[in-house]
């Protein structure tokens, strides 16, 4: 099973949302990391055949996905960033509706609906209208619908938005558990979503693919760029202006800053072991959702 993306570009008028994107995906979880507007959603939409590329190709096992059409859509599960739901449908009816549109037969659909409602912990509210659901519950029903056809390729765009930390962990474990024999593409700007489950992390910036590597290799690239520095309260502002500051831990002695910088910010600074949060900060400017990365 292989998904091959070759020089994929998407333009909206003069704006290039995705620029010459090339890579291969095989079984496993891939985390697509990028700030808002980096091209993650555009990539996901093309992979889900929701929109067509301006140029370039996407091939599933050597065949163009847009030519495969129904046959390709048969093997994918897609959770869009903003999922709409028919408010007057119950959770169960909504899943049956999607199952019908996925072409599943009634018996199999019934089996999967029950199994997935259980999996996403919505069995007890199966008869409730989705219009009454909280954001997290809507997201969970979205995840359930994506898994209805037991997809070979699961495309989830910002799936943990609106989920509380417990639900987020549950979702992460769920993805990890089902990823064995399928390609899972997960786009996010929340690093903790992919930190422990991604086989490889793709970093997208301004529509371009900067890196595609396993997390450890990515982290090794910034192994000498993360510093810990003890400063006084007065010096915090100065360092914040000069460097990317990831964390500020205050204590009686002042504050310990976690600084991401190519050079040693001060002779007193000591190297620290980098994490994905540091990596995110290293590649993305602070005005691009740093706060989101720190969750």
């Amino acid at each position: 099973m292989k998904l091959t993306i070759d020089h994929l570009t998407k333009r909206y008028g003069k704006h290039t949302a995705l620029d010459n994107f090339t890579c291969d995906f095989t079984s496993g979880v891939y985390g697509i990391l990028g700030a808002n507007g980096s091209g993650k959603t555009t990539l996901m939409r093309m992979l889900a055949t929701v929109t067509t590329p301006s140029s370039g190709t996407i091939q599933y096992n050597g065949k163009n996905i847009f030519e495969l059409g129904d046959d390709y859509r048969d093997v994918i599960g897609y959770l869009p960033q903003h999922i709409g739901l028919y408010k007057n449908f119950t959770a169960e009816k909504f899943l049956y509706y999607i199952a019908a549109l996925k072409g599943l037969d009634q018996k199999y659909a019934s089996l999967k609906v029950n199994e997935l409602l259980e999996l996403v912990n919505l069995s007890d509210v199966r008869k409730k209208k989705v219009g009454t659901f909280s954001g997290g519950m809507k997201q969970r029903i979205g995840i359930a619908q994506a898994l209805l056809n037991d997809p070979k390729i699961l495309i989830v765009d910002e799936p943990t938005a609106g989920l509380d930390p417990k639900e987020r962990i549950r979702f992460r474990n769920l993805l990890s558990a089902i990823s064995g024999d399928r390609i899972v593409l997960l786009s996010t700007h929340i690093v903790s979503d992919i930190e422990f489950i991604a086989k490889e992390i793709l970093i997208l910036k301004s529509g371009r693919l900067l890196h595609k590597q396993d997390p450890q290799k990515l982290l090794s690239e910034i192994s000498e760029k993360v510093w810990l520095l003890q400063v006084s309260e007065k010096e915090i502002a100065k360092y914040q202006t000069l460097y990317k500051v990831g964390n500020i831990v205050r204590s009686e002695l002042g504050a310990e800053l976690r600084i991401i910088s190519d050079e040693r910010p001060s002779p007193a600074a000591v190297l620290a072991k980098p994490n994905l949060e540091d990596l995110y900060l290293y590649y993305f400017e602070e005005d691009q959702d740093v706060s989101a990365a720190q969750i």
């Binding site: 055949t49 096992n61 869009p80 549109l101 996925k102």
Partner: protein
């Protein structure tokens, strides 16, 4: 004891070495995929019958879709029949009832047709096996057939309980407003949300209807050929709009 263990171990090693000859390494996943892809060309393709070619999954979906129509669609059709019947049996002019009421159930149906787009579900539906275009067309098919049945019932009632149905009158008071209204509503719905498209169409329909009531003698004097031409143009417009829906134009507009 030790001797026996050594002997056993020797036997095990020997057995293992012997079995090694029969061991087949699991090929790499890529090689398995390549073999499947290679063999795939020899798998005979299922022959597509002419019927399934021309009416793909439209009819197959139609039944499934019908149960998902909102209750408003079925009620509006029922109301149309009841109100239409009372016009036929009570009022003098059953044709004006056809003029004003016949398109209404279809307009309600159009709200249902574009519901997924209007409620933000289109993004998801576009990724499903049955595309939204197929879904919309199958819904159009249901609406068209069901409404046609309702109309035929009404024609029979008019014919047998009010006055004999004249084809020319049917063209003026049913076919023409019916097709023009649907063409206009589809045109607007492709471009805007149905929450705007449907009320605008209803307003246009009722304005036209009231004008015809006021100027009925003038309307009746217009030659049939003019009506036939407008009717034909409306049918062509509807066909073009269905073609646009099939191409997915209604959702690419905001892409």
């Amino acid at each position: 004891m030790n001797k026996r263990t050594d002997l056993e171990m020797n036997n095990d090693n020997e057995l293992e070495m012997w079995l090694e000859e029969f061991k087949i390494e699991l090929p790499e996943e890529g090689k398995i995929e390549e073999t499947i892809a290679m063999l795939h060309q020899y798998v005979p393709e299922k022959k597509e019958s002419l019927l399934t070619h021309y009416i793909p999954s439209l009819l197959k979906n139609a039944y499934k879709e019908s149960i998902k129509f909102s209750i408003a669609f079925w009620i509006s059709n029922l109301l149309y029949l009841i109100v239409g019947l009372s016009f036929v049996l009570v009022a003098d002019d059953p044709y004006m009832a056809l003029f004003l009421l016949a398109p209404l159930p279809v307009l309600v149906g159009i709200v249902d047709i574009f519901r997924s787009r209007d409620e933000g579900l289109l993004e998801l539906e576009l990724s499903l096996k049955h595309s939204p275009s197929q879904i919309i067309l199958s819904k159009l098919l249901i609406i068209g057939i069901f409404n046609l049945v309702c109309n035929i019932v009404l024609f029979f009632i008019i014919h047998f309980f009010a006055e004999p149905v004249i084809l020319g009158d049917l063209l003026r008071y049913w076919a023409l407003p019916y097709t023009v209204t649907i063409a206009l509503c589809l045109f607007l719905s492709i471009k805007f949300r149905t929450i705007f498209a449907v009320p605008i169409t209803i307003a246009v329909l009722f304005t036209l209807g009231m004008s015809v009531i006021q100027l009925d003698s003038l309307y009746a004097a217009i030659p049939d050929l003019v009506f036939l031409t407008i009717f034909a143009v409306a049918l062509i417009v509807i066909t073009l709009e269905i073609n646009q829906i099939n191409k997915g134009v209604y959702h690419e507009i905001n892409d």
